[in-house]
């Protein structure tokens, strides 16, 4: 499995854990009242901030782990060669961009579907907080689907065009 696949899987799993943590909080006794949109929005912003910070930490740790892994695996080579291998692993070339483009397409479909579902929830008289959760859930699902599709293309392969 390639470095990009492993990194994407780790990021996606971290996202799933964060979503699970949010669901546990939302269904718990300390969650805000359904009509209190301001509190729900604040809670969501906090979780988004935690998610962003977690993602940055994961990326940093992954780069460090990659550098150490390559240095150990290629220890028969000199330091300069190891540096070149590390640099080459972190280059984002056209293949990465194509896979990113195709996986984000799936993410956009999820978000678009979630937006329509949120509108349907509002139109059918559900609480505003429900619509907010449907929309944010769509973003979360879209992000997870992007990761899954990305790993699929990295492992199975992709054609240019």
């Amino acid at each position: 499995m390639s470095y990009n696949s492993i990194r994407t899987i780790v990021s996606t799993v971290a996202g799933v854990i964060l979503i699970a943590a949010y669901i546990i909080y939302a269904l718990g006794t300390n969650s805000p009242a359904p009509e209190n949109l301001k509190s729900w929005a604040t809670v969501m912003l906090v979780f988004i901030g935690i998610g962003a910070a977690a993602l940055i930490i994961i990326q940093v740790l992954f780069h460090i782990a990659l550098a150490i892994g390559i240095a150990v695996r290629e220890r028969e080579h000199d330091g300069k060669t190891v540096e070149r291998i590390i640099s080459s692993s972190m280059v984002e070339d056209e293949r990465d961009k194509i896979i990113g483009l195709r996986s984000s397409h799936v993410g956009y479909i999820c978000v678009g579907t979630g937006f329509i579902a949120a509108l349907v929830a509002l139109a059918s008289g559900m609480a505003n907080a429900v619509a907010l959760h449907v929309l944010s859930g769509a973003f979360a699902v879209g992000s997870i689907m992007e990761g899954i599709v990305s790993v699929y293309y990295y492992e199975k392969g992709v054609r240019n065009g």
């Binding site: 280059v91 070339d93 293949r95 392969g157």
Partner: protein, 76 residues
């Protein structure tokens, strides 16, 4: 509707005859990552025209010697 084309390459063989060039060296000279070269050789990626020409330039051969294509019907 246009027939689907299957594109293959001779990169591994050309690397061998180019003084056993490594995948890393080819990646650096072609402006790609080593993982992309690995994917190319495994048939898991079809490059853009620009990258295909760059790889051909690295080996100093025409692009037709690096990449070959045939239709899906011929393959079956």
């Amino acid at each position: 509707m246009a027939k689907r084309l299957i594109i293959t390459n001779n990169i591994r063989r050309l690397r061998f005859f180019a003084n056993e060039m490594t995948q890393l060296e080819l990646a650096e000279r072609a402006g790609a990552s080593r993982q992309t070269i690995v994917a190319l050789e495994a048939g898991k990626y079809t490059p853009s025209l620009e990258m295909a020409f760059r790889i051909a330039d690295v080996f100093g051969v025409p692009i037709g010697e690096v990449f070959e294509c045939r239709s899906e019907e011929e393959n079956s």
